[in-house]
Symmetry: C2
Amino acid sequence: MARTASLSGFPEWLPQERLVELHVLDTLRKTFELHGFSSIETRAVETVGQLLRKGEIDKEVYGLSRLQDEDGEDAKSDKSDPNALALHFDLTVPFARYVVENAGYLAFPFRRYQIQKVWRGERPQEGRAREFTQADIDVVGDGELPFRYDVEIALVIAEALSALPIPDFRLRINNRKLAEGFYRGIGLTDTAGVLRSIDKLEKIGAAKVAQLLKSELGATDEQAGLALELASIRTEDTSFVDRVRALGVKDDLLEEGLNELEQVIQAAVLRAPGKVIADLSIARGLDYYTGTVVETVLVGHEQLGSICSGGRYDALASKGNRKFPGVGLSIGVTRLVSRILSQELAAASRSVPTAVLIALNSDDSWSAAQDVAAQLRGRGIATEVAAKAEKFGKQIKFADRRGIPFVWFTDDDGKHQVKDIRTGEQVDADPASWMPADEDLHVRVTTAG
Amino acid sequence: MARTASLSGFPEWLPQERLVELHVLDTLRKTFELHGFSSIETRAVETVGQLLRKGEIDKEVYGLSRLQDEDGEDAKSDKSDPNALALHFDLTVPFARYVVENAGYLAFPFRRYQIQKVWRGERPQEGRAREFTQADIDVVGDGELPFRYDVEIALVIAEALSALPIPDFRLRINNRKLAEGFYRGIGLTDTAGVLRSIDKLEKIGAAKVAQLLKSELGATDEQAGLALELASIRTEDTSFVDRVRALGVKDDLLEEGLNELEQVIQAAVLRAPGKVIADLSIARGLDYYTGTVVETVLVGHEQLGSICSGGRYDALASKGNRKFPGVGLSIGVTRLVSRILSQELAAASRSVPTAVLIALNSDDSWSAAQDVAAQLRGRGIATEVAAKAEKFGKQIKFADRRGIPFVWFTDDDGKHQVKDIRTGEQVDADPASWMPADEDLHVRVTTAG
């Protein structure tokens, strides 16, 4: 399936590909709901003022305007007009607005999942589309939010990703307090600047990051060395704590961050063994996180970029003096599904939901065939009725082309038989009780190889 | 819930309202899949040229432009530029494009369902939003499409609507061939003009439509009278055939239309009794149907407008000489859900998916509580774990505020009990086997009264 999107950056799936995407979406939804997350959707449209509240990202936003705006009432989208309308570019900004607007109707801590399309006018490339689906979970508190939710969110995501037909993955987790406390402890006070430089580690390498730290932030050789040593720590257990302490830096915020990250990793070692690592190079430089930060890679597909990112915000939203801290993670569904499809990592067992095609004996038998179909559907068996009484060979071919496993025949005496067209086996069957094998009842999506 | 949308025409639901919408969407999906319809999604974005191909509707379209378009590569949305981008206003136009683009990969007749948001920049009012969800089913053929699919589509929709928590409904079905053949037979050749006038029947009444027919289309008193007599025919069975014949008009196309509509109504009397009527006033004036046409009203909510419309197109799409005829219907999900919510016609049994809250005895018991939760989730029971070991009264209140029916306690000796907080009943329970009653396992959505 190496089709090209007819509009670059706007992928569309064939029916059998969509079944893989549906399986991913259904699996995520099921996991999120089992953990008590409520579904919400927000409108696709926000005001420009809302979207650009935190600045920096306006290049990616699609503005809206009515094509034929006769009365001039609707403003043309224009970043200078905060009331102009535009498409959301993530689900966090709209969720923050939703929480503030509906605070009086929500029970805090409020846990929600949100699976929707978002749009960014970026230059399309592999793993980066202009229209794509994100699946977010967040817990947001009113005033305060126990740290335990940081642990829980990571575990829920590890469980959700484990249920998907994707290669092995690693959640790489760090903590902003740890990093900022450490930089402060070694005398680098522009912590945002250090984070931005460290964020480039994978792209430009340690030597060039050291140069940046020295030239742009005035770091000494020793300071740059220590910052890079911190970023080089990567452990599958809580041994990172000792390794950080061995660097001899003292700072209260550093201690708080060490303690928080230790809790997350400790729980993960127990409950999601092998899926989570402490990675002290994770910076997420441009985002406004205040504690836990997470990125996720598919093992063997690291160059795809993070497939799930997020973290803790002390103030996801605020309403006057009232603050709503939040912690959440966002899965890049389209990025994942594109990879699954382009590398054929998983596939659907057939291209349609239909399990049974009811063949027609004669054109007059359509109504009787509908009766049989209704009985099968009543037991959850997806069933189609042929539209014309073509030769049986043609009707079987109709099923075969779609991957429909069974064709049902009723002769003029009302005798029913069902044929498994994969094996050719044909047996008597009762419309009131016949069931296909479990694995044929619904479309299954299975990993290749 | 008389909340106002923060952006007029862009409704958003609270979590408990979203559960009603999810129930509607899940029910539609299940019915469509049981009938063998494949899911597809198309991008939200089309080119202006594609959207305005059939003219007339450009006032409603939202154009897109990148807010900060530095290099001027992306054109500002402008209806004079056919390559400019805009949001789709229905799912039929994008589906037609999808069929043409992917014809080589699809098995025809191709049956698909498509549930997505669409956008129209219309003035918002009750039952009409600027962003709303449609649920469409269509069957499209390559070259030809048996008429039987017109019958089937009507039956599938009647079954789908019957499964929803909505008031009784009526599919009002007519046939363009019948109407056009009749008008031609009485000497009115501008059939499109007559349809446009007849379409106004409910709004302006018979007398004014007669005037229109005479003044704008040059009809005689007798012609106007006959056209209105035809439009007054409404039957729950196939008796409309005799009533049309009694008007004494002879025309081949009329005969074809009578025969087609008779087939639909005959099947509906048998398979969807009471849900379908032949209504010869249905015109759907502005749309490009060529046979069956359908509108649907909720009984007692007629002023809401049609909640499901569509029909047969001889050429839903075309590619050179190749024609793709189609028949389909589109349910206005947001219109339905808005009405259900504003009139409290149905409600969710609780506001969250969670069935069980695991209470904490002490802060150290969190990990043991997660073990219990994992066992429950393994049996499909949605479970949350409290984040803090607050007083039990407070933990019970946490569950109560969300409508979570059960709270689970584990004492220091590892003895498990579960409390139904609605009745206060508390019993011993085994995490490896306890199940809630079926009606408490999942959120249920039930009709009021």
